[in-house]
Symmetry: C2
Subunit: 225 residues, 2 copies
């Protein structure tokens, strides 16, 4: 069985891809360079794809900076030390990003005759992004059934979000059990010029909390600021 997996180079998508593989799927990894300030994660995606032994690894580029509207795709500062319990959607939200990513994954899946797409979103330890919720995933599946030749011909696309109901600590436990090397990944939204993680953006803080809860040292050696 073939699957298309969205692979950003972060800890979550690496784990989601490994779960797909453990379920017997052939991995076709799709990495999207969208003008994000942490473009360094694309290098991590290459390392991760190699470690997983993906059948294919496709990189697509387009410039969401032309659209902007997010601190990840503009020169607005990335928030640090934010209250993660806040219900406010932070400036790191990229308008329609997961909709765009799943659309591109759907296109490739249809060409590959892969009817399973994996995405590493989760609804617990995340930043309150609307497009990380189960109802979003279900709505995309409903759309995919109508949008495609395969859907019309009766083959449904399934969008798998195996991390949806896991905490960051659960995700790390799962990945460690699968033998993953999280030293290959990159999580920081706003790395320094040398690629070092900032330690205080949402992504760094969630990662550090996850490793702390599991009682493991992060192989990237991050400390939170």
């Amino acid at each position: 069985m073939r699957a298309v997996v969205l692979l950003s180079g972060g800890l979550d998508s690496y784990t989601a891809a490994a779960i797909a593989q453990s379920e017997g799927f052939e991995l076709n990894a799709l990495t999207i360079l969208y003008g994000q300030r942490h473009a360094r994660e694309v290098e991590a995606a290459r390392l991760v794809a190699r470690a997983l032994g993906t059948a294919r690894h496709l990189e697509l580029s387009f410039d969401l900076r032309a659209i902007g509207g997010s601190s990840l795709t503009s020169d607005t500062a990335v928030p640090r030390g934010r209250d993660l319990e806040s219900s406010e959607i932070p400036s790191t939200y990229v308008p329609a990003r997961n909709t765009i990513f799943l659309s591109l994954a759907l296109a490739w899946a249809e060409v590959l005759q892969a009817f399973d797409v994996f995405i590493g979103v989760n609804a617990l330890d995340y930043s309150g992004y609307p497009d990380c919720r189960p109802e979003f995933i279900r709505a995309f599946e409903a759309l995919a059934a109508l949008a495609t030749r395969a859907g019309v011909e009766g083959t449904p696309f399934r969008v798998h979000a195996p991390l949806m109901h896991l905490t960051k600590a659960d995700i790390i436990r799962r990945g460690v059990a699968l033998g993953l090397d999280y030293g290959l990944t990159h999580s920081c939204y706003d790395p320094g010029p040398d690629g070092a993680a900032c330690g205080s953006c949402d992504s760094c803080v969630l990662r550090a909390r996850g490793f702390a809860e599991v009682g493991l040292r992060d192989p990237l050696g991050h400390t939170t600021g």
Copy 2:
């Protein structure tokens, strides 16, 4: 009121944009260069945007040739003289194209605080593409409500497809009544090296039939092959 309009440079999207304008919307035109063989239509989109006096015209590029799966984005021949009454989806179908286009339009709309998106699809004189049907548009609206910050905050996005139930002849009548110059547009899927329309692809045949039914000469002077 601001709207984002998907503007390909073809006759349909020009008419859909003009209808939006006639309804009082400020036009923010989005043209997507996706590696289509008829990239010439992007030049037509610029002419059309200028003629309409759009507030903004954004061009986004990405390479769907890396994904392929369509005669429009690969070196497979474009079908000519096809039976348009056939229920078969032709090779010019581009996997998930309208899903990708609407996703990008949604991202820009959210940034512009425009809650109306116009797309020139129609369900009558088209080529049997699944992503040109009313149920597809409704499913995208349902997705958009869940996918975005604005949706979560209670502002629905509306996707307008004002041509949905019009024949090609109806569309041309509507455009002529709005004073449109269809000589600015480009419709052929597979133009010659000089940019001339082939006259025998689905898009040329549907266009020629439309003008013939209305009893007007196509300003591009096409003849069907």
